[in-house]
């Protein structure tokens, strides 16, 4: 019972004001909502629908495979089905479901009113819903890709897969990844900067840690596959030979890039799920998690180690044995942190002083432990190179990966549904139906997938639409199919439970399971009535009075001092209050932007270029309108948040959340660029002769020098333009001119680079060398395009009196992007113009 931080009783009408500000739009305006609970539910719901849809495809496949030599689906349709099943499960279900839980649960766990960029997450969700739906629908019109979920060239090159099918994968999935990155930016800044005062990093709930690592991994891994999809799409559309061996390309480049993303992807899915388990287990045991520090380390180590594993998917490609051994070693190293988490969960259960109640969430957690353990063991088996050679591309792998993914992710997800429904719903889900659902899924899963280990070892290859009876795997397949139907029944029971018992809204018990973390505080649309001061890992256990105090408005920020949506931003390590962020409310612009971005990509897929460009214009226009009103300026502050703390409502520079988002963006762009440098160097090692021939086409030194000077000039002018900004309340012409001049210089720089190569006679279609050179320019050019648009935006804002010396966040962000671009461009110039001289290879 500590002293109230804010004076009580709170004034009449204060809560109504909060309710009004945070109200969810009703009726046809519902799509404009940005509240993290609404958006998070939409996100999670969509992911679940994709799970069911891809599951139905799986059932059809299993039905086809139930008996030898059946003809239910054709071979080609089967190929499309496993491709769409795998792709949907990985890209449209697993990652989005975890990201959705981040959006839904993080602000509640951090007692923040919302994540720092509400419209950005809403944008990401809508883009994903529209893009994902269209992608999935292609299966019904024979337009679905058929190259497997990892889409290896040369099979996926135009020659072997004509038609738009593969392009739907490339553009559709590439686009969804961009949306995932947007979500990751939100999560990183959210976890680091919107924690409640006092929640220093050592008190951040494990799920927060898991999401932080998850988002960090997305930042590094997804750019690699985005680059890969760019390469393949460019090769398919314009014939730049990145993967065509006779022109110096290499199909293995795809495998490197894809698995540099693809292996971490498995952990990207698993880590948040493990984080969820680390939240549920302590509650079930009524004991703090054993080995908190160890678990944090395990999450971090898994995140990093998982990037040293990618080649273990390529053990059969003829790479030298020692290289394989490096990756095999890392594959074993990564098992240690997983083991740490396992033992910690078991130890926490063991530490419990009361009888563990086997309620539905606990059951699903235990199911996960069992299944994931088996998946992990077969994982260690396939990490051994000699065994891998035997099992590669058989049903043993299908069994292994489903044990890992369903055990590691689907079971925790169902535990999550049962455990966290009370914080968004009016009542709990049914325990009785929950148990039915659990046992059906658990038994069904093992019945379905365990026999696949055996049929695999007996020689049944994966990705076959049927098999001869003589192979002797018929009985195992029949059992597998029966198991698949049991899983389906279990999922159906869960859906029935949802339909009967899930009602969004307030009511019921706030903390039915007796958890210790903040998401079980009393909540309403504004999240918690006031934002608590946190001084331990399980505040609800350590201060039983906290829920009352929070609900009475005794803690920080019980009101809405700026009259709009806002939350407290705290420092990244110590969580000291720094300022109040003013956040946007509902709106159409981000929805329109999302829909038209999706439309643009989809039209490009089917090569309808002009309407696609029109959609792009609409999307950009919508984004600009949306961000126009975001920067609210310092006028409403400073404000008092209680506890004697007064905070500004507007900051720029290294403490602002916008600056942090830009830093995250630097990392994303940097990862993309590093993936490019890797690809460039990789193709050189494969085809040094093409590089040697390329030396002839190197432009005169004047071209790169000029280009570099122009870009540096752009950065300098941009830096100076800040000085030219008018004082608050005024406008001028000098600042807009300077900003636009900077953008023009940058444009001139990248044009010089491209033109230099062109006049020297280099063509991107002639060899992989040329293709790489022009690709490097494209990577910079797209940043310059963004800078040009942002500069126009800044110029307009100065003219409108909305950008001045104090209120200059837009210009700050533009400058930061330009500084990054300059650095990347200079490195690229040195690589492209210097490397062939040094390492062109002796004739």
């Amino acid at each position: 019972m500590s002293e109230p931080l804010s004076p009580v009783p709170r004034p009449e009408g204060e809560e109504d004001e909060l309710l009004r500000i945070w109200a969810t739009p009703k009726g046809w305006r519902l799509p404009t909502a940005v509240n993290n609970t609404v958006i998070g539910l939409l996100y999670l719901g969509a992911a679940f629908v994709f799970f069911v849809a891809a599951g139905i495809l799986a059932l059809i496949m299993r039905t086809q495979l139930a008996l030898p030599e059946q003809e239910l689906v054709s071979q080609d349709l089967y190929n499309q089905m496993f491709t769409v099943h795998g792709t949907t499960m990985m890209f449209l279900f697993a990652v989005p479901a975890m990201e959705a839980l981040g959006v839904l649960l993080l602000p509640q766990m951090l007692a923040a009113r919302d994540l720092p960029f509400p419209r950005l997450s809403a944008f990401a969700v809508w883009a994903y819903v529209v893009g994902g739906t269209v992608f999935f629908l292609t299966i019904f019109i024979d337009l679905a890709p058929a190259g497997g979920w990892f889409m290896y060239p040369p099979l996926t090159l135009m020659e072997y897969q004509p038609g738009d099918n593969a392009d739907f994968w490339l553009l559709g999935i590439g686009f969804i990844e961009i949306s995932a990155i947007a979500g990751a930016i939100e999560i990183i800044v959210g976890v680091l900067r919107t924690r409640p005062p006092g929640m220093s990093l050592d008190k951040l709930p494990i799920f927060g840690w898991a999401m932080l690592i998850f988002a960090g991994m997305i930042m590094v891994a997804f750019p690699a596959v985005i680059l890969a999809t760019m390469l393949l799409e460019i090769e398919r559309a314009f014939g730049w030979p990145f993967f065509t061996a006779e022109l110096g390309g290499d199909p293995l480049l795809w495998q490197h890039l894809f698995w540099f993303f693809g292996h971490p992807e498995v952990y990207i899915i698993f880590l948040p799920a493990a984080g969820l388990v680390s939240m549920i287990v302590p509650t079930a045991a009524r004991k703090p998690l054993v080995g908190f520090n160890l678990i944090v380390v395990a999450l971090i180590a898994t995140g990093f180690f998982s990037f040293g594993l990618w080649v273990h998917h390529m053990f059969t490609t003829g790479i030298p044995g020692l290289s394989l051994a490096f990756f095999s070693a890392a594959s074993m190293a990564v098992a240690i942190p997983s083991g740490i988490q396992f033992f910690s969960w078991i130890a926490t259960f063991a530490a419990s002083e009361r009888k563990i109640e086997f309620n539905t969430p606990t059951l699903f957690v235990l199911g996960m432990l069992f299944i994931f353990l088996i998946g992990g063991l077969t994982g260690v088996m396939v990490a051994m190179v000699p065994f891998n050679w035997q099992a590669h591309d058989t049903y043993f792998i299908v069994a292994h990966m489903h044990y890992v993914m369903i055990g590691g992710m689907v079971f925790p997800l169902f535990a999550t549904f049962y455990y966290w429904v009370p914080i968004v719903g009016k009542r709990r889900l049914s325990e009785r139906l929950g148990r039915w659902s659990f046992w059906l899924i658990f038994i069904g899963f093992n019945v379905a997938f365990f026999p696949m280990h055996i049929s695999g070892l007996m020689g049944m290859p994966r990705r076959v639409w049927t098999y001869p009876a003589e192979l002797g795997v018929g009985p195992f397949n029949l059992v597998s199919t029966i198991g698949a139907y049991m899983i389906a029944a279990g999922v159906l029971v869960f859906i029935i439970d949802l339909v009967r018992n899930f009602r969004v809204g307030e009511g019921g018990q706030d903390n039915p399971f007796g958890a210790g973390t903040l998401e079980f505080l009393p909540q309403d649309v504004y999240s918690t009535r006031s934002i608590p001061h946190v001084s331990s890992r399980y505040p609800l256990w350590d201060d039983p009075d906290l829920p009352r105090s929070v609900a009475a408005g005794e803690q920080y920020l019980p009101d809405a001092p700026t009259g709009g949506r806002e939350t407290i931003v705290t420092s990244a390590i110590h969580a000291k209050p720094q300022y109040i962020v003013q956040m946007p409310g509902p709106g159409w612009t981000h929805v329109i932007a999302a829909v038209f971005t999706a439309a643009c990509f989809l039209l490009l897929t089917v090569k309808i270029v002009v309407p696609a460009m029109l959609c792009a214009l609409v999307a950009v226009g919508a984004v600009l309108t949306w961000v126009w009103s975001i920067d609210k300026g310092p006028d409403a502050g400073p404000v008092s948040i209680g506890g004697g703390i007064t905070l500004p409502v507007y900051v720029t520079g290294p403490i602002s959340h916008g600056w942090w988002a830009m830093m995250v963006l630097w990392v994303v762009a940097g990862s993309l660029f590093i993936a490019f440098v890797f690809s460039y160097l990789y193709l050189w090692t494969v085809s040094p002769e093409v590089w040697l021939a390329g030396r002839e086409f190197l432009p005169q030194l004047g071209w790169p020098l000029g280009a570099g000077v122009l870009m540096l000039g752009a950065a300098a002018v941009m830096r100076l333009s800040r000085r030219a900004l008018p004082s608050p309340g005024e406008r001028n012409l000098l600042a807009p001119l300077a900003v636009l001049a900077a953008a023009s210089l940058a444009g001139a720089g990248i044009t010089a680079e491209i033109y230099g190569h062109w006049t020297s006679g280099l063509r991107p279609t002639a060899s992989s060398y040329g293709a790489m050179v022009y690709l490097g320019a494209i990577l910079t050019a797209q940043l310059v395009l963004a800078i040009a648009i942002m500069s126009g935006f800044c110029a307009a804002r100065v003219l409108a009196g909305k950008l001045d010396r104090v209120r200059w966040a837009s210009l700050e962000n533009t400058s930061l992007l330009l500084y990054y671009t300059t650095a990347q461009f200079l490195i690229a110039l040195i690589l492209i113009h210097g490397f062939p001289h040094v390492m062109g290879g002796a004739p």
Binding site: S200, L201, D202, K203, N293, L294, V296, V297, I300, A301, F304, F305, F307, G308, G318, I319, P320, G321, L322, S323, L324, A325, F326, S328, A329, A330, M332, A333, I336, P337, V385, P386, S571, A572, I573, H574, K576, P577, Q578, Y579, P638, T646, L647, P648, V651, P654, I655, T685, V686
Partner: protein
């Protein structure tokens, strides 16, 4: 109104805490890169691979030792009265160092045991 509290030394604290695993990553990238390139280039290059790997390993281990010795001062709390975060970050740093050292040694062990470029049969 005073200036809002800044988070002092975020970058230093983060890099120190993560140094073990960052060193592992650098070691891994270097070792794999050198071996890959040397084996592609062939004759004249391959002899360097193993010495480079061993050297990198010694260097990595030495760096890790340095961090271990310095962690306490690099992670000293802002406010001596509130040591929680520093204790936590120190624990993270040290455990990560141990795990990463294991990773580095596992990589090196491969180099001890296998020929530089030969494919497995």
């Amino acid at each position: 109104m005073s200036e809002p509290a800044r988070d002092t030394r975020f970058l230093r604290r983060t890099l120190t805490s993560l140094s073990g695993i960052l060193i592992w990553a650098a070691h891994f990238g270097l070792v794999y890169g050198v071996q890959h390139v040397a084996c592609r280039e062939g004759a004249g290059w391959t002899g360097f691979v193993k010495p480079v790997i061993y050297l990198a390993t010694v260097l990595a281990a030495a760096l890790m030792g340095l961090v271990a010795a310095k962690a306490r001062s690099w992670l000293a709390p802002d406010d001596p009265g509130a040591p929680d975060v520093s204790i936590f970050l120190r624990a993270v740093t040290h455990i990560l160092l141990v795990l990463s050292l294991f990773g580095v040694l596992a990589t090196t062990a491969s180099a001890v045991l296998l020929p530089t470029c030969g494919a497995l049969r």
